[in-house]
């Protein structure tokens, strides 16, 4: 069998490892439009910051592809999928055939139109290693940087820019930072940390005009404020790279639609990672869950399924862990609605908020103190029945929460 993977990040590696966990025969080819072996995308902000060395950027060992007998083709962008002939063509004129195909093309930054933005130099997005390399070339102690967007990417790029620039300002349309994952109270905690470190926040504001000649020189905000700007990073969001799939008549909504085994509506074609829209087992709806661990798990699921391995019905739900200037934030599951019970505990170490629905844990948000969070994650995943929600916030909470029988089974 011949497996072709378009893309070379978490989902692609998951697919390779899923196949190779039990199948050494299948031929695997990976096509990537980048020049690198798989690297950790979340590390690019650490690389910019100076906290991750080049050699530690790679997601797997140097001999990974060789050992896994994978044919890695770099610097080739897949341009068309022919589902009848079962082949993929690239911008470099290559044609690769497949028996099973994985589309793991990821997502690209979305840059909204802003007056004066088009064609300006020193405007960046931040998703790839080369984006960090480009930024490294222009930062300097006399430079003023402006980041548009206070989501995960915006905050992390600001964190990486801060030690290298004179000033860093984040402009965010919403009234709070990390608006997609945090509520107001917890967002305020993070905003305070970010500001204390020296990043200026312009919340409830937006960039309406970019000033300068060839290169960006300033940003005019909605409220009329003018920010000097030598480096502008647009980080308002990402969009799945679905064009290739669309052109091949594969089912696409906002992302490529996949089932629990990551199959698309086209036979023998799978999709995984940030390009997909998949079923959120906790919320019970279909959505884009563009997060690294989920991409790996989806890729692995696809790899196992396409190579005929038995696998339990996989479940996915949003979960994320991030640190901002060392302050840990973990979120998982759903945001509370009016049918939810929300329990909270706040002390000098941090804030824990647990969200329950129908006697089950369906979401969590932990700030500052995140130890042993995985036990909660497993409860969300398993749909563990919880009679006394407050018991989850006990100081001695741990595996001791479970009955002796369950505990023994878990600790076998």
């Amino acid at each position: 069998m011949k497996v072709l993977i378009i893309g070379n990040s978490a989902a692609a590696i998951g697919c390779i490892e899923g196949i190779r966990s039990h199948d050494l025969q299948t031929q695997i080819t990976v096509l990537t439009d980048e020049k690198y072996m798989a690297y950790s995308r979340p590390l690019i902000s650490y690389y910019l910051w100076g906290k991750a060395e080049k050699k530690n950027m790679y997601y797997r060992e140097d001999d990974f592809y060789e050992k896994a007998h994978v044919n890695l083709i770099t610097n080739q962008k897949a341009t068309a999928i022919d589902t009848k002939k079962k082949q993929v063509t690239t911008n470099g004129g290559l044609t690769e055939t497949y028996d099973k195909l994985l589309i793991a093309t990821g997502a690209s930054p979305f840059v909204p139109p802003v007056e004066g933005l088009a064609g300006k130099q020193n405007v960046f997005t931040f998703l790839k290693w080369d984006d960090a390399e480009d930024l490294k070339k222009v930062v300097g102690p006399e430079k003023n940087a402006v980041v548009v967007g206070a989501g995960l990417i915006g905050i992390k790029v600001a964190e990486g820019l801060l030690p290298h620039c004179k000033s860093v300002t984040i402009v965010e349309l919403a009234e709070r930072v990390l608006p997609m994952v945090l509520d107001e109270a917890s967002s305020n905690i993070v905003a305070k940390i970010v500001e204390e470190k020296g990043i200026a926040l312009e919340l409830g504001n937006s960039a309406v005009k970019i000033e300068g000649g060839d290169a960006v020189e300033g940003v005019v905000l909605k409220d009329g404020k003018q920010l000097p700007c030598d480096i502008l990073v647009m980080a308002v969001g990402v969009r799945p790279n679905t064009q290739l799939a669309k052109d091949a008549n594969i089912g696409v909504n906002r992302g490529i639609l996949v089932d629990e085994y990551c199959l698309t509506n086209e036979k023998d074609i799978y999709a995984a990672g940030d390009v997909t829209e998949s079923f959120d087992s906790v919320a019970g709806d279909q959505k884009i869950m563009a997060l690294w661990p989920n991409a790996y798990i989806q890729g692995e699921t696809a790899g196992l399924h396409m190579s005929g391995a038995k696998l339990k019905e996989p479940t996915l739900f949003p979960m994320n862990s991030v640190t901002i200037f060392g302050y840990p934030i973990i979120t998982a599951g759903i945001q509370p609605d009016d049918q939810c019970l929300v329990l909270e505990k706040e002390d000098e170490e941090g804030l824990a908020r647990l969200i329950f629905k129908e006697n089950k844990l369906v979401g969590m948000m932990l700030l500052g103190k995140v130890d042993r969070a995985g036990i909660y994650t497993s409860m969300i995943h398993d749909g563990t029945l919880i009679e006394h929600p407050e018991s989850l916030l006990s100081d001695t909470f741990g595996l001791n929460w479970f009955s002796k029988e369950v505990r023994k089974e878990k600790m076998k």
């Binding site: 906290k51 690294w292 661990p293 979960m319 862990s321 640190t323 995985g374 036990i375 741990g398 023994k408």
Partner: protein, 149 residues
């Protein structure tokens, strides 16, 4: 592959395993020096208090290791030779995604030193797991597990 098993019926909750774990992972490997002069990393074994019982929990070195799958940098991996789950301190950046993923809560945060993960490595450096060797009541034992084909 040898694995550590907790026997809660025998556990006294004395936490000597925690003390010896920290010592075994310290610079000096000396119990007094490590506690008095170093900032030892946290114990990678955690003694849980269940009221009328205790048990000491270690990394289970899972076959289906969620920490490895979720690690965003590739720092967490299964040692192909020993089969144990190991964290590469050079690659770990302390994002705590493994803490989010581990269903046992067996991965600790070493916030006193490099702010990276501290987890059971079966005491690779000293040979035999210190928690097992120093448990006064055999509440932590080493068992040999057959490889499943």
């Amino acid at each position: 592959m040898k694995r550590i098993r907790a026997v809660e019926e025998w556990c006294l909750g004395c936490k000597l395993c925690e003390v010896h774990c920290r010592t075994a992972h310290s610079k000096s490997k000396d119990i007094v020096k490590c506690y008095k002069k170093e900032a030892p990393s946290p114990a990678r074994v955690v003694v849980e208090d269940g009221g009328d019982y205790n048990f000491a929990l270690n990394c289970r070195h899972c076959k289906d290791a969620k920490c490895v799958k979720s690690c965003i940098t590739g720092a967490m991996y299964r040692d192909p030779e020993t089969g144990y789950i190991v964290n590469n301190p050079d690659k770990c950046i302390g994002c705590w995604t493994c803490v989010l993923a581990c269903p046992y809560g067996a991965i600790m945060r070493d916030t006193s030193n490099k702010k990276i993960v501290a987890k059971c490595d079966m005491c690779a450096e000293v040979g035999t797991p210190a928690c097992v060797a120093n448990c006064p009541n055999q509440a932590l034992i080493l068992i040999e597990e057959e490889e499943e084909e």
